[in-house]
């Protein structure tokens, strides 16, 4: 199936970035959020990003204008999804809110419109089965920031049709992105393997085998990982890290995903990483 017009739901960090990438590839995009100021903020960030690209001579002013011209911001859901070939959902990570939205989309959209969710943590199967078009339902997991990250996980569930999958893989390529196909399962490919990598580093610290600095140094110096597990955890935030590990542990029900004790204790102590200036490492106050 050919995709011409896309609706992106949610103009937050992921949503506005996704809308920008789609518009840059020549697609007409409706960017929808629930309030005007959210839509305006998202479009403002796209404008800012494009202005930066023009300044660095990565694109001409005319190209930037054309890209912005292909994006229409709106708050009315029915108008936003009318006549689109694909809806990419990038709203709040709450399964019930998402299911409600997809049920409503089911009523508002054409029968052949594909639904894609950008979730990183919710079940594609569960959302798909809340609609009357499970064969047209697929996961499209982008990475932050969408404008710069080249990989997209394409998530199929048992009833996703081959045509829907092929359309999505083709779309990713047209967007200049590299798709990787994965069956619906907790953490998909990337987050699941990252959890193991993080946990194994943190477990060694828990066991008294080595200090964070030594573990991070080992992985960076020997294999050119850009950051070590402790540095990355501190950057993302240890509360976010603990929530993510706990979700994997609960859903995959395997010991490998059990939250390490050092992570639990840091969160209890309120030492959440860079944002509190102290996590596994200490940081200088920002601007101080």
């Amino acid at each position: 199936m050919e995709i011409n017009k896309i609706c992106v739901l949610g103009a937050g960090v992921m949503g506005h970035g996704i809308a920008q990438v789609c518009a840059q590839a020549g697609y007409q995009v409706n960017l929808r959020d629930i309030r005007d100021e959210l839509v305006e903020s998202g479009i403002g960030k796209i404008r800012q990003f494009l202005a930066g690209s023009v300044e660095r001579q990565k694109m001409s002013q005319m190209e930037a204008d054309n890209i912005l011209g292909r994006i229409r911001g709106m708050t009315d859901l029915a108008e936003a999804v009318r006549d689109v070939d694909l809806v990419i959902e990038a709203i709040v990570e709450d399964i019930n809110v998402k299911k409600d939205v997809f049920r409503e989309l089911d009523r508002l959209c054409r029968e052949d419109t594909i639904f894609a969710s950008n979730t990183s943590a919710q079940s594609i199967t569960e959302m798909a089965m809340a609609t009357k078009r499970p064969q047209k339902f697929i996961g499209m997991h982008w990475f932050n920031p969408p404008q710069l990250m080249r990989g997209i996980e394409v998530i199929v569930h048992d009833r996703t049709s081959r045509e829907t999958l092929e359309t999505m893989v083709e779309l990713c390529k047209k967007l200049g992105r590299e798709p990787g196909v994965c069956k619906d399962s907790p953490g998909f490919i990337v987050n699941r393997l990252l959890q193991i990598w993080y946990n194994e580093g943190l477990n060694m610290f828990d066991e008294g085998v080595a200090e964070p600095r030594d573990i991070d140094t080992a992985l960076k110096a020997a294999y050119s990982f850009r950051m070590g597990p402790f540095e990355l955890r501190d950057m993302v935030g240890l509360d976010v890290a603990l929530a993510s590990t706990s979700t994997h542990y609960r859903e995959l029900m395997r010991e490998q995903f059990k939250p390490p004790r050092c992570l639990i204790m840091k969160v209890k102590a309120g030492e959440l990483g860079r944002k509190t200036e102290r996590g596994f490492y200490e940081y200088q106050p920002r601007g101080g």
Partner: protein, 246 residues
């Protein structure tokens, strides 16, 4: 204690590469073949670095021999990649002076990481002197208490094991799993590429050793064991997760 004179015993590829690497520091370096008489060189060294083939008996013999020939303050270092440091140390009369220095060449850049492995009886002074010596030679170091797989093999083997579980369950292809880790989170290699270059046999050995020490969550995925049975050990045999025989 400061290390200025080093004796490398074992002149295989690794011995020669280490000589070249360490020559960047301001040290006196002597290299000796295993079968040569290295008594004189060893007796003048502050640190003896054993680079014998990876066989426990052979390494133990070299270290015991050095123990009788070296001054009593000389550090005896083993390059073993296995958790033998405590055991090798105990075979000498100076266990507090015995340490593991395991060198890993970065496959992408011209640099090394040395895992400084502290055995149960290794003294803090020995760790500190080894660390200072290696830093003078300009190599990165990571200190650890002796543990199966050390830091690197332990982390990588655990990731490979989970990736093998995912591939066995047909959640995704080998190529897609590797590609996603590289393009989505900038990993230098995907898990299956790591596995093929480290060797599937080595991954399974590490996991077996980890599961023995730390519990069943490290038990190797059966696919990995079958690959060892089939002789699919990675790049070195032309077949691992990928086929290299072309």
């Amino acid at each position: 204690m400061s290390i200025t004179t080093v004796c490398i015993i074992g002149n295989g590829d690794m011995g020669l590469r280490l000589q070249e690497l360490l020559s960047k520091g301001d040290f006196r370096i002597m290299t000796s073949r295993l079968e040569e008489d290295y008594a004189e060189q060893a007796s003048s060294a502050d640190l003896v670095l054993e680079v014998a083939p990876e066989e426990m008996a052979l390494k133990m013999e070299v270290l015991k021999d050095c123990d009788t020939r070296c001054r009593k303050e000389t550090v005896l270092a083993t390059t073993t990649a296995n958790s033998w440091v405590t055991k090798l140390a105990a075979a000498t009369g100076r266990p507090e002076k015995v340490i593991g220095l395991n060198f890993t060449k970065n496959p992408f850049e011209e640099k090394y990481l040395v895992q400084i492995v502290k055995g149960l009886q290794t003294s803090d002074d020995t760790v500190q002197a080894s660390k200072e010596f290696l830093e003078k030679a300009g190599v990165s170091v990571a200190r650890l208490e002796e543990t199966p797989g050390f830091i690197l093999d332990r982390v990588i083997a655990s990731v490979v094991n989970e990736a093998a579980v995912m591939y066995s369950a047909k959640l995704a292809t080998i190529e897609d799993i590797d590609r996603m880790m590289k393009v989505c989170v900038n990993w230098p290699m995907g898990p299956f590429e790591f596995a093929d270059s480290i060797g599937i046999d080595r991954i399974v050995e590490t996991l077996d050793s980890l599961s023995q020490q730390l519990g069943p969550k490290y038990l190797p995925c059966f696919l990995l064991r079958k690959m060892v049975h089939a002789g699919w050990l990675g790049k070195k045999t032309g077949r691992g997760f990928y086929n290299y025989a072309k």
